[in-house]
Structure formats: C-alpha cells, structure tokens
Symmetry: C2
Subunit: 235 residues, 2 copies
C-alpha cells in the first residue's frame, strides 16, 4: 500500500523535530518545509537540514519569505529579545511574536500539500507552554483547518471526506515535559535541535530567553538533561 | 478624526484597482500590498506601483515570495496558459490556479495589518466571474476572517468587537460588468491596469486567456471600451 503523504513544518527546534519523529513512526511519506524569513536565528535552517536528512524525508523545501518588510517583531527586527522573564506569566503577547507567522507558514504548507497531493499537514505548536502567541491555540488550528478545506482544489473535487486537508498538531495539549518524554521514547537526538531565540554565532543557545527557559524546564521535569550546547557551559 | 487604516491587496489588475478606488472614496488610509511571486506576468508589479502612486496610498509594500518552489501552476511554472476556452464553463479548476494563492496573500496582509494597526483588509476577489478558483468563494473569505480573528494579537487584546479583523471583499457578488460600471463611476483609469495571464514583453494583453476574455466581455456588457492595450490592436 502507498504510504500516506504529509507536509511537515520543520523549524529545527525541539517541537517540530518531535513531530517529525512521530510522523515517521506513523509511516508517513514526509515532505518537510522550512522557512528562511529574515529571522536572527538562521542556525535553525542548518539544524532543520540535518534533521530532515537524518529522518530520510522524501523532500525538504526551504521557502524564502521576507517578513522583515513588515517589521514588528524581535525575531525579525532590531528589538532586544527579552531574557530571564518569568515564563509562567506568559499570557501577554511577547515582542518575539512574529505577526501572523503560523498563518503564513500554514498557508505555504497548504500550497505545498496541494502540489504534492498530501492531505495531512503537521505542525509542532503547543498551547500550554506557548509563550503567549495567539496563533498557537487549538481554536486557531481548528479555524485554519476549516478555512483550508474551503480554499483548496481538494475540497472542490472531493466526493467524500478522505481528500480533506487535516491540520495535525499532535503536541498542542502537551507540556514541554510531555513533549520531551515522547521524543525520548521515539529516540529523538535533541542535541541536533535548536530552540534559542538569540543564539551565539557558533549556534550555542543563550539559556535565558523564553524558548531556552521552557526547554530547560521541560528536560528537568522529565528527569533528563538537555544535550543542546549552551553558552558558558563546560563539558 | 483619524482616518481608518486598511491593508489592500493590489495586483495592478482591474478588480483590485476598482477596490482601491472604493477604499479611497471611503476615506481609508490605504497600505497597499503587492507580491512578486515568480509570476510570468511581472508587468503587474509595474502597473501596481503606478496605480498606488496615482491614488496616493500612504505605503506600498511589494513582498517577495517564491511560490515557484512548489511549482504546480501555469502562472508560476512552465505550463501553457489556455487560450480561447469558453469562460462560462469555468467551474473546473483551471491550470492557471496558483495553489493556495489567496490564502497566502491574505496571510501576508494579516501580518501587515497587525504591524500597521489596520483592522480592515480589502481584497478584489469575485465569485461570479471567478474562473473556477476555490479561494474566490464567499465561504472561503468568511472562513479566513474567522481564522484571522483567532490568529492575531488584536483578538487577544480586544475588549470589544472594534479591533477585530475584517476581510472586505466588496466585489465578491458582482459580475465583471458591474465592477466595470462601479469603477467608471469612481473615475478609474482602466488603461493603467493589467489583467492578462500571458502578456507580451511590452505589456500588451493577449486578448484570449480567461482573464482577458472576462475583462473584454465586462466592458462590452457595460457598453464601454477597454482602454488597455491588446496585441495586434491598431489605435
């Protein structure tokens, strides 16, 4: 039987790599999609390429989009990334929020799905440790899926539900601890992944931005140690 | 009183230019957005720049996105644009359909709206003479609007409905005839606009693709003459 095709958004971070391990375990034929979007942490792209190769995806497209034309975020513009802020009070939208980022990423994934004939789109968002981004909520994912089904040729041609687009966000209700536990069970090499919003030039993580704090706490709560390299760490 | 801000998708074609005239007549402060997306009809961008200047928009951003990485359409890949096909039988999705194009364009418009503080996004789609594209239907626009309201910071911060994103598609239920009549009442100079899917190198329209046929019929039915330049036309 043919393997089912999936488009998978791969940032090179902990979450999307865990989702890739999961989709691979479910025997999907994965078409990975990453973005070069003027982000300061371009080491993400290099990590994504290595991870895609490790998992033997059938195709890895890096789409070039310039979100800097709009400005407005610490990840794409010249605003300082906040450090050591309490992540539990993260229900304000932080300055690291990139306007409409997941909407744009999922829109490109939808185009890629149409061209490859995939009906499943995997994304590694999670709503619990989500840093306060509005486009990581389950109701956003559900609304995007509904819109996507109306947007595409698949819907126009479908005779039953089998050709409908599904947005699969398997981590959406997991804590970082649960995500790390899942990934470790699936054998993910988290040393390959990068999550930091403000890494050093050599790719070492800062250990103090929201993403680093959430990640380190996840490993600690899972009773494990993060194999990623952190600035100032002696090994 | 401050003018209301709007983001407006401006292709340089007949429809989006009519929408720009309408938004200008409604006294919006317009932030225009065009795309360079590897389309074969790059003369669209040049037309959009002239039209944006003519209407005195406060800002015109041309975002560079490479939809060619996905292939799959006669407008971005090496497939022939169909000529002289009967446009009334246009309920099959044609090969000129760009995968998820309006979804991607509206997603960028949403990011731009967040950054500029606009709550209205204007788009010139219409469902009647829509060439069979699934992402030109009213139910798609409604679903996108609902998703957009969940995706954005505006929704997260809103205390009432006034900060909600609205997707405004004022042409959606109009025929091409009605659009031309509206534009002529608003004083649109349609000689500045370009609609052809397959223009000559000098920008002349082919007169035979779906877009040209629909446009020419719209002018004829409105009892007017299209001032655009067509290949082989003697003036």
């Amino acid at each position: 039987m043919d393997r089912k095709k999936a488009v998978l958004l791969l940032s090179g971070g902990l979450d999307s790599t865990t989702v890739l391990a999961l989709a691979t375990a479910e025997n999907y034929e994965v078409h990975a999609l990453s973005f070069s979007y003027g982000q300061r942490h371009a080491s993400e792209i290099a990590a994504a390429r290595k991870i895609a190769a490790r998992y033997g995806v059938v195709q890895h497209v890096v789409a070039d989009i310039d979100l800097r034309v709009f400005g407005g975020s610490a990840l794409t513009a010249d605003i300082d990334v906040p450090k050591d802020r309490p992540v539990d009070s993260a229900h304000d939208v932080p300055v690291t929020y990139v306007p409409a980022r997941n909407t744009i990423f999922l829109s490109f994934a939808l185009a890629f799905a149409e061209v490859t004939g995939a009906h499943d789109i995997f994304i590694g968002v999670n709503a619990l440790d989500y840093s306060g981004y509005p486009d990581c909520r389950p109701e956003f994912i559900a609304a995007f899926e509904k819109m996507a089904r109306l947007a595409t040729r698949a819907d126009a041609d479908a005779v039953d539900g089998s050709e409908q687009i599904s947005i699969r966000a398997p981590l959406i209700n997991m804590s970082k601890k649960q995500i790390v536990e899942l990934g470790l069970r699936l054998g993910v090499d988290y040393g390959m992944t990068t999550s930091c919003y403000d890494p050093a030039a050599d790719g070492e993580a800062c250990g103090h931005c929201d993403a680093c704090q959430l990640r380190l706490r996840g490993f600690a709560e899972a009773g494990s140690t993060d194999p990623a390299r952190y600035t100032g760490q002696t090994t």
